[in-house]
């Protein structure tokens, strides 16, 4: 029943149309509430209801009781974790908007839908948050929420948010906030997950091309993009992947247009982790219009930290793990727009935690 070209596309839609879809049902959505016309509509409307209408309790309706939520900063296991996290964030940022910019999705044979939701938020920090005391400043932030949806419920989620860019707009230093966050110890399951993921990614042979997890030209393109640039660091090949005026948004305010600037972003970022290896963990491909296609990639990167700032020198060579997601808009076999998101604050906080743990262990050994 999937009729992809008539699936909801929010790019030109006002909120009033998002909330009142007029099209007929586009996907079977077995087990989902009848009101939803397609998976994009489901994601956009439940996000609005939970976050913007502040119906946090609707998580009970739209999340499974057991719903692992993976972020670089924390791991949640069940519905109560989701509700508590949502409430805390809304209290610290009470006017947070969640503007659904795009939903790229895939559908598997057993009625599971996988959505990758690109969200922009504008939010004022009027309450104390995980970053520290209220700053009373407003910022905008980009999030990518990857969800597995089954019978009207989200059953698994990977959440990446560009907290680095947000923190800078709040007038705070990423390093100071990371140090502050590192004072809160990680839960055991989170540490376990980080360690397992680090080991998994480090074990790959990054010099050989990865096996595409989907068929088709664009899936091969996405794998090739990541293999060539992230794993093999062949930055001279950027012109094979990007159009001459492609735009690129990377975390913490790294913005680029065109091949030279994009090259600069890659080289400066990978200098932080020169031995980085990367795995493609999920891929979804959705048409955007007649001539362009959107690709969502969730990926994991692991290596060792090579700090570019003196303030971080004590963290040198510590295991460096990133949970990231990228949305690519592709035209004529070239990326014309890229949004890549990961949480650089959580990344540094994890490094500070690991350093503190190592120091403590050393002290104990010496004692």
């Amino acid at each position: 029943m999937s009729t992809q070209n008539t699936i909801t596309q929010p790019y030109w839609l006002p909120l009033s149309s998002v909330l009142n879809p007029q099209s007929k049902k586009q996907q079977a959505l077995i087990g989902f509430d009848e009101e939803f016309v397609d998976i994009v509509d489901y994601i956009l409307r439940i996000t609005h209801r939970i976050w913007e209408q502040k119906n946090i309790g609707l998580c009970y309706r739209y999340y499974a009781d057991v719903c692992p939520v993976f972020t670089l900063g924390a791991y949640g296991e069940n519905i109560e974790d989701v509700i508590q996290g949502t409430l805390k964030t809304i209290a610290a940022f009470p006017d947070r908007s969640l503007i659904g910019e795009n939903v790229i999705f895939s559908e598997d044979g057993n009625e599971h839908y996988y959505s990758s939701h690109l969200i922009s938020s504008v939010m004022s920090n009027t309450g104390n948050s995980e970053f520290g005391p209220a700053t009373n400043k407003t910022g905008r932030v980009t999030t990518i929420a990857d969800c597995v949806c089954f019978e009207n419920k989200i059953v698994k989620e990977w959440l990446v948010r560009d907290n680095g860019f947000l923190v800078k707009q709040l007038g705070l230093s990423i390093i100071n906030v990371a140090k502050h966050m590192a004072k809160v110890p990680s839960k055991e399951k989170h540490t376990l997950w980080l360690n397992e993921e680090f080991t998994r990614v480090q074990a790959i042979d990054h010099r050989t091309p990865s096996t595409p997890i989907l068929d088709g030209e664009l899936a091969a393109f996405a794998h090739n993009w990541l293999d060539t640039l992230f794993n093999q660091k062949q930055f001279a090949k950027i012109h094979d992947f990007y159009s001459l005026t492609a735009t690129q948004q990377w975390p913490s305010g790294r913005m680029a247009t065109g091949l030279a600037q994009i090259n600069g972003v890659f080289i400066q970022f990978f200098a932080n982790c020169p031995d980085a290896k990367l795995t493609v963990d999920h891929l979804a491909i959705t048409p955007f219009d007649e001539s362009t296609t959107d690709v969502a990639i969730r990926w994991s990167l692991a290596g060792h930290f090579n700090p570019q700032s003196d303030e971080l020198s004590e963290l040198k060579n510590l295991p460096y793990f990133v949970l990231g997601a990228s949305h690519l808009r592709i035209k004529n076999q070239k990326v014309i727009e890229e949004v890549t998101v990961f949480d650089e604050v959580a990344l540094l906080a994890n490094l500070f935690r690991a350093h503190a743990l190592n120091s403590q262990t050393e002290l104990e050994v010496n004692a």
């Binding site: 030109w12 908007s97 503007i99 922009s120 735009t247 913005m255 030279a260 600037q261």
Partner: protein, 284 residues
């Protein structure tokens, strides 16, 4: 859409322009990106509050295949001299998706209020906090094996105009300053940020040389090029990256150039950028 923008400044009509913006629309002004009318309204209100409702002195409008350009010269009630605002707009029949608005803040700072004198120190504190972007250092050399956009690469142009425009771009990308003599007609009019007076092309040469003195390891990058065949006009959005020598910090200036051709040569050029926003963004 164009009228909604004009009415914003001349009638303080915030409602109409707000209704044209989606929540996901971007309004870029003073190197700050506002999302939707919620964040854009403070920008508009600040302008109205500081300078008053304006009288429209002149407007020019051109249409490219994807973007439209609007240039306004406004006489705000509280200022003695006119100011210039330029817009590059992406919209469909109902909504605006993005606006890049360049306010000539030097012109504002050099202006005079009807009651008191204006200057940089009065203008900068009123600017929104610019986006905290990171300008990654890069290899600014144009190696033979690397690829760098030229106007004709990214916009369909008539052959002769393409040639002139590519040569114009070489002035900024390759420092081919001799091209000033070949791409302009002798009496070409130039309007440059900081002044509303028409100048000769020498003003552009001086501007180029000023950039070269303050910024080292420069790199010019095209963002968009739009051609309006009816008016023989090209709008170019581009950026200039460089290391600001006085502070050894990488910066990125956003620049908007509108070029009008007579036959195949440039007869007029408007070059706009927001100097004070750049100063604020990178603490220069």
């Amino acid at each position: 859409m164009i009228n909604a923008i004009i009415d914003l400044y001349t009638k303080a009509d915030i409602k109409t322009i707000s209704g044209k913006l989606l929540r996901s629309s971007r309004w870029q002004q003073h190197h700050f990106t506002a999302m939707g009318s919620l964040q854009a309204q403070p920008l508009w209100l600040d302008f109205l509050a500081q300078y008053g409702v304006s009288e429209l002195i002149s407007k020019t409008h051109s249409k490219g295949s994807e973007l439209e350009t609007l240039q306004l010269v406004l006489q705000p009630k509280k200022l003695l001299k006119p100011v210039r605002l330029s817009f590059v707009i992406k919209y469909n029949s109902t909504f605006i998706k993005s606006v890049k608005c360049v306010v000539d803040t030097l012109l504002l700072a050099n202006n005079e209020f009807t009651g008191e004198a204006s200057n940089n120190t009065l203008v900068i504190p009123k600017l929104p906090k610019s986006d905290p972007i990171m300008v990654s250092d890069l290899d600014n050399q144009l190696h033979p094996t690397t690829f760098h956009a030229t106007p004709s690469d990214i916009c369909e142009l008539p052959t002769q105009i393409a040639e002139t425009l590519n040569n114009w771009w070489q002035i900024w990308q390759l420092n081919n300053l001799a091209n000033f003599e070949s791409v302009y007609i002798k009496s070409a009019d130039v309007i440059l940020a900081g002044s509303n007076e028409t100048q000769s092309k020498d003003a552009l040469l001086n501007c180029h040389l000023a950039f070269s003195q303050s910024l080292s390891r420069r790199y010019a990058q095209l963002e968009t090029v739009q051609f309006d065949s009816a008016s023989n006009q090209v709008t170019i959005c581009w950026t200039l990256d460089g290391t600001f020598n006085a502070k050894n910090v990488r910066v990125r200036q956003q620049i908007l150039t509108v070029i009008t051709f007579t036959n195949t040569l440039i007869s007029s050029e408007v070059m706009q950028f927001d100097t004070l926003a750049l100063n604020q963004q990178f603490a220069l």
